[in-house]
Amino acid sequence: MKKAMQLALGILTGVGGFLDVGNIATSAQAGAMFRFQLIWSLLLATLVVIFLTEMSGRFAAASKKALPDAIREHFGFSAWLPPFIILSIVHLLVLAAEIGGVCFALHLLTGLPIRLFALPVAILIWLFLWRATFSAIENSMSILGLITLCFVVAAIWHHPPAHEVLAGALPSMPSHDPARYWFIAVSIIGAVIAPFLFYFYSSGAIEDKWDRTYIPINRAIAVISMGFGSLISVSAIIVAAVVLAPRGIEITDYHQAAMLLTQAFPFWGYALFAVSMGVACLGAALEVALSMSYTFAQTFGWNWGEDLQPIEDARFSMVYTVALLIGSLFMVVGVDPLKLTVVTMATNAFVMPFITIPFLLLMNDRKLLRDASNGVISNTATVMIVILALILAVVSIPLTFLGKS
């Protein structure tokens, strides 16, 4: 019975937590410019994220260790330090982009300037982390996150041409703007396979005290929740393709994305978009900030846990406090939230090798995992994911300059 609850909760968390600022921005851009043609990149990313999430959870359940913890131990401090520093910078950028998303949502609802909201939003996120337990954060954000299902409702309401949607599920060459096409494809993949996801998920499994009996549940959660979650992103592409593409709107500003739901929901489309975006980004910001604390604490062996009082893990609590302060400064000084998001998603794609390569080694550690080690299928998938990650890392930088807009 408890396990069934865990399964339901895990799925809820995955669905409610799938969408974030990066998914909204890249899906809207993809649909507006290339209609249904880029759906394949989202499906590819979903397949990858299912494998990586399943492995992160299985690793944590079988070894009772979260990923950063195990990586420092396996690779040693000197080898882990450079990726640790790079990933921390990327985490900060993602956090800043998510804070930007919440600020923009509040700006849409109130009409007040974005930068005004930066510090209040950071303080709100901080208050959650300072006072709430891990499961309180997980549960409240997953329930609130279900509002993002309005994109699915809108996509069905629009009756998109089924054969075109299905055709988009297979990769094809673009008829125009190839650099932009590939840049958006890479950004979509970077937005779905966010680096913080796996450190957060595996640390969360430790917070929820998973053991080996959770391995089958973990598999179901990974497949079902990530599958449903990506349905929301696919819906956003479909809605953008139907609403924005015919009018020739290319997303260069979040205000244009805010029109996404106005046809399906004439009166409250704007507000619904704003609330969805605000909730999705708030949930993601909480996850990224926590991931930063998890990664720092595990790298240096500090005491950690969101269920402890801040006084019991002062260093852990100070990491997210400082990170939120720095992350909010981007909006305070007036960085454009969409530009920040787009660059950050390409950066996510660039750092993918650092995330994926450790899986190859860790998932085959028979001493830690015993019979929960990777089998032939998982290992083949991991090798292919690492190759994909290396390709993405190589192409992401030139594409950022060629295809940004």
């Binding site: 420092r72 040693g76 401090f77 500090w302 260093r315 609590s317």
Partner: protein
């Protein structure tokens, strides 16, 4: 009793846990004593200066220069081999209390000067 222990693979960088189940840091360095008989593990080293030395001795010097502003009494702490209780696949358990050791200098300083001054830190309970 002759059990083999791979120092680099199974001991270095491993999580240290104290007698209260508090995570105390990691094995940042291992020091052997070479005397009359066979070499023996003398102690573990912990701390930022040990980590810096692993990267490059000069980085350790820079770190030492910064130490005048550090709340830590010393940037390096020693955990004698005699306090090791158990080494398992997940962690190394010690029979001392982290809060009483220099490993928690930063933690203690942050608790006292910053965290306890912010409402809701759990200090009062």
């Amino acid at each position: 009793m002759a059990q083999e222990l791979d120092l680099i693979r199974d001991v270095l960088d491993k999580q240290l846990v104290d007698s209260d189940d508090t995570k105390m840091g990691r094995v940042d360095g291992i020091v052997l004593a070479i005397g009359d008989g066979a070499p023996q593990i003398d102690h573990f080293e912990l701390g930022f200066s040990v980590l810096a030395r692993r990267l490059h001795p000069r980085i350790e010097q820079w770190l030492q220069a910064l130490r005048r502003w550090s709340p830590r009494r010393s940037a390096r702490q020693i955990v004698p081999w005699s306090s090791v209780q158990e080494i398992n696949v997940r962690e190394i358990r010690l029979d001392l209390k982290a809060i009483d050791t220099p490993a928690f200098d930063w933690e203690r300083w942050l608790r006292k000067h910053i965290v306890s001054r912010i409402p809701g830190s759990g200090e009062e309970s």
